[in-house]
Symmetry: C2
Subunit: 83 residues, 2 copies
């Protein structure tokens, strides 16, 4: 069994209205030192595969096809073997 | 200037309908080895603070008050000093 952590972030230059709203709210709460907020996804996937190479290939495919939108998002995959 | 990565995840036992939907979609795409998917948030915050201790305290407060819902979510903060 493999466990993957996938971090999906908006590409630089892509507008992040959710991050902008959170930044404004933090300023209202008096955290005026906050200069920028960007909000992405943290996706955890557990999967069975015959070997780690297969798992890595599948995770890359899943990210490209479904988990991230490669036009506007970057992603990074970390994987470890678990019991 | 400090940069923080904040990982917000649903607590164990809290239902994750979005993760369930993604798991089903991955099965439809023939990734049948996927046994579980959990979807959380990956929040990046840049802030100014007079020292790292102050920054850490503020980040913890922001997470408790706004970025995470402590009733159903856990969070983890990583912080580094940047230029």
């Amino acid at each position: 069994m493999y466990k993957a952590n996938i971090y999906v972030t908006l590409k630089e230059g892509v507008l992040d209205p959710q991050g902008g709203a959170v930044k404004k709210s933090l300023h209202v709460l008096n955290y005026t030192g906050v200069t920028e907020v960007r909000i992405g996804k943290f996706i955890e996937v557990w999967l069975e595969a015959k070997d780690p190479e297969t798992a890595k290939v599948e995770l890359k495919e899943m990210s490209d096809k479904l988990l991230a939108n490669p036009v506007i998002e970057n992603y990074r995959v970390e994987m470890l073997e678990v019991e």
